[in-house]
Protein backbone atom coordinates (compact mmCIF):
# COMPACT_ATOMS: atom_id res chain seq x y z
CA UNK A 1 0.00 0.00 0.00
CA UNK A 2 1.18 3.44 -0.73
CA UNK A 3 2.40 5.20 2.30
CA UNK A 4 1.14 8.62 1.56
CA UNK A 5 0.84 11.58 3.77
CA UNK A 6 -1.23 14.36 2.55
CA UNK A 7 -1.62 17.99 3.23
CA UNK A 8 -4.63 20.03 2.38
CA UNK A 9 -3.76 22.64 -0.11
CA UNK A 10 -4.67 25.96 1.30
CA UNK A 11 -7.09 27.59 -0.99
CA UNK A 12 -7.08 31.32 -0.80
CA UNK A 13 -10.46 32.73 0.15
CA UNK A 14 -11.68 36.12 -1.00
CA UNK A 15 -8.81 38.44 -0.50
CA UNK A 16 -9.35 41.26 -2.86
CA UNK A 17 -11.01 41.70 -6.14
CA UNK A 18 -8.46 40.29 -8.49
CA UNK A 19 -8.93 36.81 -7.17
CA UNK A 20 -9.40 33.97 -9.56
CA UNK A 21 -12.38 31.74 -9.68
CA UNK A 22 -10.01 28.82 -9.55
CA UNK A 23 -9.87 29.10 -5.82
CA UNK A 24 -13.52 28.11 -5.61
CA UNK A 25 -14.89 24.65 -5.89
CA UNK A 26 -17.86 25.64 -7.98
CA UNK A 27 -20.69 28.17 -7.65
CA UNK A 28 -22.07 26.85 -4.37
CA UNK A 29 -18.65 27.19 -2.83
CA UNK A 30 -18.40 30.76 -4.07
CA UNK A 31 -21.86 31.54 -2.73
CA UNK A 32 -20.84 30.09 0.59
CA UNK A 33 -17.77 32.27 0.73
CA UNK A 34 -19.88 35.34 -0.06
CA UNK A 35 -22.39 34.27 2.57
CA UNK A 36 -19.63 34.00 5.16
CA UNK A 37 -18.85 37.64 4.51
CA UNK A 38 -22.35 38.54 5.62
CA UNK A 39 -21.22 37.26 8.98
CA UNK A 40 -24.54 35.97 10.09
CA UNK A 41 -25.80 32.52 10.79
CA UNK A 42 -26.45 30.77 7.51
CA UNK A 43 -30.04 30.14 8.46
CA UNK A 44 -30.52 33.89 8.87
CA UNK A 45 -28.84 34.82 5.67
CA UNK A 46 -30.52 37.18 3.25
CA UNK A 47 -30.78 35.25 0.04
CA UNK A 48 -31.73 38.39 -1.83
CA UNK A 49 -28.60 40.17 -0.68
CA UNK A 50 -26.48 37.13 -1.40
CA UNK A 51 -27.97 36.84 -4.85
CA UNK A 52 -27.06 40.41 -5.64
CA UNK A 53 -23.53 39.94 -4.37
CA UNK A 54 -23.09 36.86 -6.46
CA UNK A 55 -24.42 38.48 -9.62
CA UNK A 56 -22.26 41.55 -9.09
CA UNK A 57 -19.26 39.41 -8.46
CA UNK A 58 -19.78 37.45 -11.64
CA UNK A 59 -20.42 40.58 -13.70
CA UNK A 60 -17.30 42.32 -12.50
CA UNK A 61 -15.30 39.18 -12.84
CA UNK A 62 -16.49 38.78 -16.40
CA UNK A 63 -15.48 42.33 -17.24
CA UNK A 64 -11.95 41.56 -16.25
CA UNK A 65 -11.46 37.97 -17.19
CA UNK A 66 -13.96 37.44 -20.02
CA UNK A 67 -13.92 33.70 -19.79
CA UNK A 68 -15.88 32.18 -17.02
CA UNK A 69 -16.92 28.62 -16.39
CA UNK A 70 -20.42 27.74 -17.50
CA UNK A 71 -21.40 26.54 -14.03
CA UNK A 72 -21.00 29.99 -12.61
CA UNK A 73 -23.08 31.60 -15.34
CA UNK A 74 -25.84 29.08 -14.98
CA UNK A 75 -25.95 29.78 -11.28
CA UNK A 76 -26.01 33.51 -11.97
CA UNK A 77 -28.96 33.05 -14.29
CA UNK A 78 -30.72 30.85 -11.77
CA UNK A 79 -30.18 33.45 -9.07
CA UNK A 80 -31.41 36.22 -11.36
CA UNK A 81 -34.52 34.21 -11.82
CA UNK A 82 -34.85 33.58 -8.11
CA UNK A 83 -34.37 37.27 -7.42
CA UNK A 84 -37.09 38.24 -9.85
CA UNK A 85 -39.40 35.71 -8.27
CA UNK A 86 -38.65 37.06 -4.84
CA UNK A 87 -39.21 40.67 -5.86
CA UNK A 88 -42.22 40.33 -8.10
CA UNK A 89 -45.70 40.22 -6.66
CA UNK A 90 -46.81 36.69 -6.10
CA UNK A 91 -48.39 34.99 -9.05
CA UNK A 92 -51.34 32.77 -8.61
CA UNK A 93 -50.10 29.27 -8.10
CA UNK A 94 -48.78 28.91 -11.62
CA UNK A 95 -45.47 27.37 -10.68
CA UNK A 96 -44.57 24.17 -8.95
CA UNK A 97 -42.32 25.86 -6.46
CA UNK A 98 -42.84 29.04 -4.55
CA UNK A 99 -39.93 31.45 -4.33
CA UNK A 100 -39.75 30.66 -0.63
CA UNK A 101 -39.27 27.00 -1.42
CA UNK A 102 -36.48 27.80 -3.82
CA UNK A 103 -34.91 30.09 -1.27
CA UNK A 104 -35.14 27.37 1.33
CA UNK A 105 -33.62 24.85 -1.04
CA UNK A 106 -30.69 27.10 -1.74
CA UNK A 107 -30.14 27.68 1.97
CA UNK A 108 -30.19 23.96 2.54
CA UNK A 109 -27.58 23.40 -0.13
CA UNK A 110 -25.36 26.10 1.34
CA UNK A 111 -25.69 24.79 4.86
CA UNK A 112 -25.06 21.26 3.79
CA UNK A 113 -21.91 22.15 1.90
CA UNK A 114 -20.72 24.23 4.81
CA UNK A 115 -21.32 21.32 7.16
CA UNK A 116 -19.28 18.99 4.98
CA UNK A 117 -16.50 21.50 4.51
CA UNK A 118 -16.24 21.87 8.23
CA UNK A 119 -16.21 18.15 8.97
CA UNK A 120 -13.70 17.57 6.22
CA UNK A 121 -11.35 19.94 7.97
CA UNK A 122 -11.97 18.19 11.27
CA UNK A 123 -11.41 14.83 9.71
CA UNK A 124 -8.17 15.95 8.19
CA UNK A 125 -6.96 17.37 11.48
CA UNK A 126 -7.19 13.98 13.10
CA UNK A 127 -3.86 12.38 13.84
CA UNK A 128 -2.91 10.83 10.56
CA UNK A 129 -0.64 7.85 10.06
CA UNK A 130 2.60 8.97 8.47
CA UNK A 131 2.00 12.60 9.34
CA UNK A 132 1.24 12.81 13.05
CA UNK A 133 1.51 9.29 14.32
CA UNK A 134 3.69 6.43 13.21
CA UNK A 135 3.85 2.71 13.24
CA UNK A 136 7.08 1.20 14.29
CA UNK A 137 8.41 -1.69 16.23
CA UNK A 138 10.94 -4.28 15.33
CA UNK A 139 10.83 -8.01 15.51
CA UNK A 140 14.40 -8.39 16.59
CA UNK A 141 14.65 -11.30 18.96
CA UNK A 142 11.62 -13.14 17.70
CA UNK A 143 11.45 -16.01 15.30
CA UNK A 144 9.96 -14.82 12.08
CA UNK A 145 8.54 -16.86 9.27
CA UNK A 146 7.74 -15.23 6.00
CA UNK A 147 5.00 -15.93 3.60
CA UNK A 148 4.13 -14.08 0.47
CA UNK A 149 0.99 -12.23 -0.36
CA UNK A 150 0.25 -9.99 -3.25
CA UNK A 151 -0.40 -6.39 -2.57
CA UNK A 152 -1.74 -5.39 -5.94
CA UNK A 153 -4.78 -3.26 -5.30
CA UNK A 154 -8.01 -2.63 -7.08
CA UNK A 155 -6.51 0.68 -8.13
CA UNK A 156 -3.66 -1.14 -9.87
CA UNK A 157 -6.15 -3.39 -11.60
CA UNK A 158 -8.31 -0.52 -12.82
CA UNK A 159 -5.34 1.47 -13.91
CA UNK A 160 -3.99 -1.45 -15.88
CA UNK A 161 -7.33 -1.91 -17.58
CA UNK A 162 -7.73 1.79 -18.23
CA UNK A 163 -4.37 1.97 -19.93
CA UNK A 164 -5.43 -0.89 -22.17
CA UNK A 165 -8.68 0.80 -23.14
CA UNK A 166 -6.85 4.03 -23.67
CA UNK A 167 -4.43 2.44 -26.10
CA UNK A 168 -7.36 1.10 -28.05
CA UNK A 169 -9.09 4.41 -28.45
CA UNK A 170 -6.08 6.62 -28.78
CA UNK A 171 -6.93 9.07 -31.54
CA UNK A 172 -10.41 9.83 -30.30
CA UNK A 173 -9.84 13.27 -28.81
CA UNK A 174 -8.99 16.36 -30.72
CA UNK A 175 -8.48 19.40 -28.60
CA UNK A 176 -8.74 22.68 -30.36
CA UNK A 177 -6.51 25.20 -28.75
CA UNK A 178 -7.96 28.51 -27.73
CA UNK A 179 -7.49 31.03 -30.49
CA UNK A 180 -6.07 34.43 -29.84
CA UNK A 181 -7.40 35.68 -33.13
CA UNK A 182 -10.00 38.41 -33.16
CA UNK A 183 -13.43 37.44 -34.36
CA UNK A 184 -15.75 39.56 -36.45
CA UNK A 185 -18.41 39.32 -33.74
CA UNK A 186 -16.06 40.77 -31.20
CA UNK A 187 -15.03 43.51 -33.57
CA UNK A 188 -18.65 44.47 -34.27
CA UNK A 189 -19.45 44.66 -30.58
CA UNK A 190 -16.37 46.66 -29.91
CA UNK A 191 -16.89 49.09 -32.75
CA UNK A 192 -20.53 49.58 -31.79
CA UNK A 193 -19.49 50.54 -28.32
CA UNK A 194 -17.03 53.19 -29.44
CA UNK A 195 -18.91 54.63 -32.42
CA UNK A 196 -21.05 56.80 -30.20
CA UNK A 197 -18.19 59.30 -30.15
CA UNK A 198 -17.16 59.01 -33.80
CA UNK A 199 -19.32 61.72 -35.36
CA UNK A 200 -16.62 63.06 -37.68
CA UNK A 201 -14.79 61.20 -40.47
CA UNK A 202 -12.08 59.24 -38.71
CA UNK A 203 -9.29 57.09 -40.04
CA UNK A 204 -10.32 53.48 -39.59
CA UNK A 205 -6.83 52.57 -38.44
CA UNK A 206 -7.24 54.78 -35.39
CA UNK A 207 -10.26 52.85 -34.22
CA UNK A 208 -8.90 49.36 -34.11
CA UNK A 209 -7.20 47.84 -31.08
CA UNK A 210 -3.49 48.32 -30.58
CA UNK A 211 -1.30 45.92 -32.47
CA UNK A 212 0.79 43.51 -30.52
CA UNK A 213 3.90 41.58 -31.48
CA UNK A 214 2.16 38.69 -33.17
CA UNK A 215 1.74 39.28 -36.91
CA UNK A 216 -1.04 36.82 -37.39
CA UNK A 217 -3.02 38.26 -34.52
CA UNK A 218 -2.48 41.73 -35.99
CA UNK A 219 -3.80 40.60 -39.33
CA UNK A 220 -6.86 39.18 -37.64
CA UNK A 221 -7.42 42.47 -35.83
CA UNK A 222 -7.25 44.35 -39.08
CA UNK A 223 -9.40 42.02 -41.12
CA UNK A 224 -12.01 41.36 -38.48
CA UNK A 225 -12.45 45.07 -37.88
CA UNK A 226 -12.61 45.75 -41.59
CA UNK A 227 -15.31 43.17 -42.09
CA UNK A 228 -17.07 44.50 -39.03
CA UNK A 229 -17.07 48.02 -40.41
CA UNK A 230 -18.56 46.79 -43.68
CA UNK A 231 -21.18 44.93 -41.73
CA UNK A 232 -22.04 48.01 -39.70
CA UNK A 233 -22.21 50.08 -42.89
CA UNK A 234 -24.53 47.56 -44.46
CA UNK A 235 -26.82 47.81 -41.45
CA UNK A 236 -26.85 51.56 -41.77
CA UNK A 237 -25.06 52.12 -38.54
CA UNK A 238 -22.01 53.90 -39.94
CA UNK A 239 -20.74 55.49 -43.16
CA UNK A 240 -17.53 54.35 -44.81
CA UNK A 241 -15.51 56.09 -47.49
CA UNK A 242 -12.27 55.54 -49.32
CA UNK A 243 -10.99 58.34 -51.52
CA UNK A 244 -8.66 56.35 -53.72
CA UNK A 245 -7.69 52.74 -54.32
CA UNK A 246 -5.58 51.37 -51.45
CA UNK A 247 -6.00 54.69 -49.68
CA UNK A 248 -7.04 55.25 -46.11
CA UNK A 249 -10.50 54.25 -45.09
CA UNK A 250 -12.58 56.71 -43.12
CA UNK A 251 -15.62 55.94 -41.02
CA UNK A 252 -18.15 57.88 -38.98
CA UNK A 253 -21.44 57.36 -37.23
CA UNK A 254 -24.41 57.79 -39.54
CA UNK A 255 -26.76 60.46 -38.31
CA UNK A 256 -30.21 59.11 -38.01
Amino acid sequence: MLDITNEIEDSAPLKQFNITLNSYEGPIDLLLELARKQKVDLSEISILELTEQYINFINEYQDIHLEIAADYLVMAAWLTYLKSRLLLPKEEKSEDHTPEELEEALKYQLQRLEAFQSVSKKLYKRPLIGRDVFYGGSSEGLKVKYNITYSSTLFDLLRAYSSIIQQEEKPSNLTIAFSELYSVDNAIQRLKSIFGEVTEWTNFLNLIPKFNSNKIVNKSILSSNFVASLELAKNGFIDVKQNNVFGNIFVKLRKS
Partner: protein, 212 residues
Protein backbone atom coordinates in the same frame (compact mmCIF):
# COMPACT_ATOMS: atom_id res chain seq x y z
CA UNK B 1 4.97 -5.86 38.89
CA UNK B 2 4.66 -9.30 37.41
CA UNK B 3 3.49 -9.32 33.89
CA UNK B 4 1.21 -12.08 32.78
CA UNK B 5 2.53 -14.22 29.95
CA UNK B 6 -0.36 -13.47 27.65
CA UNK B 7 0.18 -9.78 28.16
CA UNK B 8 3.77 -10.19 27.11
CA UNK B 9 2.77 -12.18 24.07
CA UNK B 10 0.24 -9.61 22.95
CA UNK B 11 2.68 -6.79 23.54
CA UNK B 12 5.44 -8.52 21.64
CA UNK B 13 3.30 -9.39 18.64
CA UNK B 14 1.77 -5.97 18.39
CA UNK B 15 5.16 -4.40 18.73
CA UNK B 16 6.88 -6.67 16.27
CA UNK B 17 4.28 -6.47 13.57
CA UNK B 18 4.59 -2.79 12.86
CA UNK B 19 1.13 -2.60 11.36
CA UNK B 20 -2.42 -3.37 12.50
CA UNK B 21 -3.25 -6.98 13.33
CA UNK B 22 -6.60 -8.70 13.21
CA UNK B 23 -8.16 -9.27 16.60
CA UNK B 24 -8.62 -12.95 15.76
CA UNK B 25 -4.96 -13.41 14.93
CA UNK B 26 -4.01 -11.91 18.27
CA UNK B 27 -6.42 -14.15 20.13
CA UNK B 28 -4.92 -17.10 18.32
CA UNK B 29 -1.53 -16.59 19.92
CA UNK B 30 -2.81 -16.42 23.46
CA UNK B 31 -2.70 -19.17 26.03
CA UNK B 32 -6.06 -18.20 27.53
CA UNK B 33 -8.00 -16.94 24.60
CA UNK B 34 -11.09 -16.16 26.61
CA UNK B 35 -9.14 -13.50 28.49
CA UNK B 36 -8.51 -11.57 25.32
CA UNK B 37 -10.93 -8.76 25.99
CA UNK B 38 -9.60 -8.17 29.46
CA UNK B 39 -5.97 -8.41 28.41
CA UNK B 40 -6.28 -6.05 25.50
CA UNK B 41 -8.28 -3.57 27.56
CA UNK B 42 -5.60 -3.64 30.25
CA UNK B 43 -2.91 -3.07 27.68
CA UNK B 44 -4.82 -0.23 26.12
CA UNK B 45 -5.24 1.38 29.51
CA UNK B 46 -1.60 0.77 30.37
CA UNK B 47 -0.37 2.63 27.30
CA UNK B 48 -3.03 5.30 27.37
CA UNK B 49 -0.78 8.13 28.53
CA UNK B 50 2.52 6.91 27.19
CA UNK B 51 4.59 7.69 24.12
CA UNK B 52 3.00 4.82 22.26
CA UNK B 53 -0.69 3.98 22.37
CA UNK B 54 -2.69 0.90 21.60
CA UNK B 55 -5.43 1.70 19.10
CA UNK B 56 -8.29 -0.22 17.56
CA UNK B 57 -9.34 0.57 14.01
CA UNK B 58 -11.94 -1.59 12.34
CA UNK B 59 -11.24 -5.05 13.76
CA UNK B 60 -7.50 -4.58 14.00
CA UNK B 61 -5.20 -3.48 16.78
CA UNK B 62 -1.92 -1.63 16.55
CA UNK B 63 0.66 0.29 18.49
CA UNK B 64 1.31 3.74 17.17
CA UNK B 65 3.09 6.78 18.49
CA UNK B 66 1.03 9.13 20.62
CA UNK B 67 -0.45 12.10 18.86
CA UNK B 68 0.39 14.25 21.87
CA UNK B 69 4.02 14.41 20.77
CA UNK B 70 3.47 14.74 17.04
CA UNK B 71 5.51 17.92 16.91
CA UNK B 72 8.60 16.14 18.17
CA UNK B 73 8.21 13.31 15.68
CA UNK B 74 8.30 15.34 12.52
CA UNK B 75 11.60 13.59 11.80
CA UNK B 76 9.61 10.58 10.71
CA UNK B 77 7.19 12.48 8.58
CA UNK B 78 6.97 11.08 5.10
CA UNK B 79 5.14 13.79 3.29
CA UNK B 80 4.86 12.84 -0.28
CA UNK B 81 2.08 14.70 -1.90
CA UNK B 82 -0.67 17.13 -1.25
CA UNK B 83 -4.30 16.28 -1.20
CA UNK B 84 -6.49 18.88 -2.83
CA UNK B 85 -9.40 20.46 -1.04
CA UNK B 86 -11.66 18.81 -3.61
CA UNK B 87 -10.25 15.41 -2.70
CA UNK B 88 -10.54 15.84 1.04
CA UNK B 89 -14.09 17.17 0.73
CA UNK B 90 -14.99 14.28 -1.53
CA UNK B 91 -13.45 11.87 0.96
CA UNK B 92 -15.44 13.20 3.86
CA UNK B 93 -18.67 13.19 1.89
CA UNK B 94 -18.04 9.54 1.05
CA UNK B 95 -17.10 8.76 4.65
CA UNK B 96 -20.26 10.27 6.10
CA UNK B 97 -22.72 9.35 3.38
CA UNK B 98 -21.51 5.96 2.28
CA UNK B 99 -22.48 4.20 0.16
CA UNK B 100 -22.84 7.08 -2.25
CA UNK B 101 -22.77 7.60 -6.01
CA UNK B 102 -20.59 10.03 -7.84
CA UNK B 103 -23.48 12.21 -8.88
CA UNK B 104 -24.74 12.42 -5.31
CA UNK B 105 -21.32 13.70 -4.30
CA UNK B 106 -21.44 16.22 -7.12
CA UNK B 107 -24.83 17.34 -5.96
CA UNK B 108 -23.57 18.12 -2.49
CA UNK B 109 -20.49 19.91 -3.74
CA UNK B 110 -22.49 21.70 -6.41
CA UNK B 111 -19.84 21.06 -8.98
CA UNK B 112 -18.78 18.31 -11.30
CA UNK B 113 -16.00 16.12 -10.12
CA UNK B 114 -12.76 17.27 -11.58
CA UNK B 115 -10.14 14.79 -12.47
CA UNK B 116 -8.07 13.49 -9.67
CA UNK B 117 -10.51 13.12 -6.81
CA UNK B 118 -11.98 9.66 -7.00
CA UNK B 119 -9.02 8.06 -8.71
CA UNK B 120 -6.61 9.77 -6.38
CA UNK B 121 -8.47 8.69 -3.26
CA UNK B 122 -8.64 5.20 -4.62
CA UNK B 123 -4.95 5.19 -5.35
CA UNK B 124 -4.18 6.06 -1.75
CA UNK B 125 -6.46 3.18 -0.88
CA UNK B 126 -9.01 5.13 1.13
CA UNK B 127 -12.08 4.46 -0.99
CA UNK B 128 -13.37 1.64 -3.17
CA UNK B 129 -16.46 0.87 -5.19
CA UNK B 130 -18.98 -1.38 -3.48
CA UNK B 131 -22.08 -2.46 -5.30
CA UNK B 132 -24.33 -0.42 -7.53
CA UNK B 133 -27.32 1.72 -6.79
CA UNK B 134 -30.59 0.31 -7.98
CA UNK B 135 -31.63 3.28 -10.09
CA UNK B 136 -31.49 3.77 -13.86
CA UNK B 137 -27.92 3.49 -15.05
CA UNK B 138 -26.95 1.44 -12.00
CA UNK B 139 -24.16 3.80 -10.95
CA UNK B 140 -21.30 2.53 -8.80
CA UNK B 141 -21.51 3.19 -5.07
CA UNK B 142 -18.40 4.33 -3.22
CA UNK B 143 -17.39 3.48 0.33
CA UNK B 144 -14.35 4.04 2.52
CA UNK B 145 -11.90 1.24 3.24
CA UNK B 146 -10.31 -0.32 6.33
CA UNK B 147 -7.14 1.52 5.40
CA UNK B 148 -9.01 4.80 5.65
CA UNK B 149 -10.02 3.93 9.21
CA UNK B 150 -6.47 2.88 10.04
CA UNK B 151 -4.97 6.06 8.67
CA UNK B 152 -7.45 8.33 10.37
CA UNK B 153 -7.51 6.33 13.59
CA UNK B 154 -11.23 5.65 13.46
CA UNK B 155 -12.58 2.57 15.17
CA UNK B 156 -16.02 2.51 13.60
CA UNK B 157 -17.59 4.60 10.87
CA UNK B 158 -20.26 5.60 13.36
CA UNK B 159 -17.46 7.25 15.38
CA UNK B 160 -16.76 9.85 12.72
CA UNK B 161 -16.55 13.30 14.28
CA UNK B 162 -19.83 15.24 14.37
CA UNK B 163 -21.76 12.47 12.69
CA UNK B 164 -24.74 12.88 15.00
CA UNK B 165 -24.92 16.62 14.48
CA UNK B 166 -24.87 16.20 10.72
CA UNK B 167 -27.60 13.64 10.96
CA UNK B 168 -29.73 15.76 13.25
CA UNK B 169 -29.45 18.70 10.84
CA UNK B 170 -30.69 16.51 8.02
CA UNK B 171 -27.48 16.81 6.06
CA UNK B 172 -27.01 13.09 5.77
CA UNK B 173 -30.18 12.65 3.76
CA UNK B 174 -29.39 12.32 0.14
CA UNK B 175 -32.01 14.69 -1.14
CA UNK B 176 -30.84 16.99 -3.86
CA UNK B 177 -31.59 20.48 -2.77
CA UNK B 178 -31.43 22.13 -6.11
CA UNK B 179 -30.88 19.96 -9.10
CA UNK B 180 -27.17 20.12 -9.62
CA UNK B 181 -26.24 23.23 -11.46
CA UNK B 182 -24.28 21.21 -13.93
CA UNK B 183 -27.27 18.98 -14.47
CA UNK B 184 -29.30 21.94 -15.50
CA UNK B 185 -26.52 23.18 -17.69
CA UNK B 186 -26.41 19.84 -19.42
CA UNK B 187 -30.10 19.85 -20.21
CA UNK B 188 -30.42 23.34 -21.56
CA UNK B 189 -27.66 24.81 -23.59
CA UNK B 190 -28.09 28.07 -21.89
CA UNK B 191 -24.67 29.39 -22.26
CA UNK B 192 -24.80 29.51 -25.98
CA UNK B 193 -27.65 31.94 -26.20
CA UNK B 194 -27.07 33.81 -23.06
CA UNK B 195 -27.28 37.36 -24.34
CA UNK B 196 -31.03 37.34 -24.19
CA UNK B 197 -32.40 36.38 -20.87
CA UNK B 198 -35.92 35.69 -21.79
CA UNK B 199 -38.37 34.66 -19.19
CA UNK B 200 -39.08 31.45 -21.05
CA UNK B 201 -35.55 30.15 -20.84
CA UNK B 202 -35.30 31.18 -17.25
CA UNK B 203 -38.25 29.00 -16.47
CA UNK B 204 -36.15 26.08 -17.42
CA UNK B 205 -34.10 26.64 -14.34
CA UNK B 206 -36.81 25.52 -12.07
CA UNK B 207 -35.42 22.43 -10.48
CA UNK B 208 -37.29 19.29 -11.18
CA UNK B 209 -36.80 17.56 -7.89
CA UNK B 210 -36.62 20.27 -5.32
CA UNK B 211 -37.83 19.16 -2.00
CA UNK B 212 -38.06 21.15 1.13
Amino acid sequence: MITNRDTKILEAILFASGSPILEDDLKDKMLNKKDFKQEIDNLKEFYKDRGINLIKTGNKWSFRTSESIKDELTIFKTQKRKLSRAAIETLSIIAYQQPITRSEIENIRGVQMGRGSIDHLMEIGWIKPSGRKNIPGKPALWVTTELFMEHFGIEKISDLPNKDELKASGFLEKRSAIATITDIAGKNDLIEDQDTEEEETLDDFIPEETST
